[in-house]
Amino acid sequence: MSAPAATVAELARGLAEGRYSSVELTKSYLERIAAAQPGLNAFVTITGESALAAAAAADATRAAGRAGALTGVPIAHKDIFCTEGVLTTCGSKMLANFVSPYDATVVRQLRAAGTVMLGKLNMDEFAMGSSNETSYFGAVHNPWNTEMVPGGSSGGSAAAVAARISPAATATDTGGSIRQPAALCGVTGIKPTYGRVSRYGMIAFASSLDQAGLITVSAEDAALLLGPMSGFDPRDSTSVESPVPDYTRTLGDSLEGLTIGIVKEFFDKGLDGECEARIREALRVYEKLGATLREVSCPNLPLSVPTYYVVAPAECSSNLARFDGVRFGYRCESPKNLADLYMRSRGEGFGPEVKRRIMTGTYVLSAGYYDAYYLKAQRVRQLISADFARAFGEVDLLLGPTSPTPAFKIGAKSDDPITMYLNDIYTIGANLAGLPGISLPCGFVGGLPVGLQLIGPHFSEARMLNAAHRYQLETDWHLQVPAAFA
């Protein structure tokens, strides 16, 4: 069985044709995980025993003739999704002992679709980071070069799929946390429209930006998994009541007549020249596929990073107020009084980047500063959204880089938060405007993967996946596997 190169689509076919059982498949992935874990640190928790039980149940379902498209396919979940009876840490000391009493809707839906959970994936603490270095459980290493970061915050998800130790993984994206690690690890990462996927049981970071999505080998795999993962959930007040199309049905549609906008501001400055060359090559592929290219301008987009670093910390400071050492999570030793309990539990339980963002958010929301920072940022956010809306009046999709550079060395950017924050310069805009985005592998620079990003109008996932799939039929960047894991 050729597990390393297999996509979810291929594995589903192999299971349907009886070439292997889910138990055999799951065992082979658990072996690959065990071998890779010391070098990559992609997992926080490996749920081998329950995975094999779920795989056996999937095999029984298949034997009874009740198998669905994904029955018996192993996947892994980012450790931000609550999983009943399983440790759910969010990459933090604060939740290092938290065993969730319930399942996130995403976890429940993907289980109902027949997938088998291999374990929980490492991530930046509370999803705050672009390198996976802020995890309490240690940095994740990039499978293409283990001295490099995998990107973040869904670094474990991206590294696991890149190393083919999980066929696919759930992930979350607040400012680029799916797309940027997908780009840095040479895999496909989709952030759906705000409200498309339920966030119930997904630990909150910045509620006006957070969205759940997927990291997969291919756009076809993303289409297979996104359907069962999406849909209205009464338990999430931001969940949108809009029908979920069959994303696989339109994957092969022609791109004749598609207009792709090239965002001028994405190529202005800061983009590595070699990365830009890979993106330009991808543009030629799209032209060959029949798409028309047109330059568009989003003049306010360069303000997206400073806007984000007001809005996201503000919301994080509010969301993370729930961690008080009383009801769950870390509590300090022998607190002197209630204030001491709060202050020390939070001071000792949160890592440096999380504390930095809580304080940034506390400051921008504090008396006298709210108008100057928070309201101002929400006004600029309106300008950025209007830029996108105007562009989508002229074009169907936007195309640009996912990240300004390929993966960088572990430790290289940890001293300066601004340098680190600028990694997300091309991804944050989609979050601010609630738009769907996808990152696709489009080549290599110095042996490290480069990603291109497509951004679409609200609820255009089907068109975006179609454009991504057609590109992947013409190229094989997404099928490259790091030599150490081939």
């Binding site: 002992n97 938290f98 065993v99 009493p101 409200g195 006006s208 930006l209 009464p234 007040s237 931001t238 969940s239 949108v240 303000l303 990073v305 400073p306 806007t307 670093y309 400071s317 107020a321 008080d324 009383v326 009801r327 769950f328 999570g329 509590r331 607190p335 009084n337 209630l338 204030a339 001491d340 309990l341 202050m343 020390r344 001071g347 440096p352 504390k355 930095r356 809580i358 304080m359 940034t360 506390t362 400051y363 309201l375 101002k376 940022a377 929400q378 006004r379 600029v380 956010r381 309106q382 300008l383 959204s385 809306a389 300066d416 938060p417 601004i418 924050y421 979050n431 601010l432 609200h458």
Partner: protein, 96 residues
Amino acid sequence: MSLTRADIENIARLARLELTEAEIPVYVDSLSRIFAFVGELDDAPTEGIAPMAHPLPGLAQRLRADEVAEENRRDLYQQNAPKVEAGLYLVPKVIE
């Protein structure tokens, strides 16, 4: 913009975060740099622009009916609590 040690101590107190002596200068430096960076927003032409209230145009936060929807699962939830007794969460004495 430059923050002082007193600013950081005040923000940390508001955020209920105990900082170690070594952490304070680190945050004085990095938060000063973050607010200098965020200052780029000052010149943005936002006159007459309403602050964005929802990422999807025309949508507002959905409200649910005011009905009891959850069953009582206190004992299960309290398994994650640092300290409980007789179904109550224990904290240091508040009133002497």
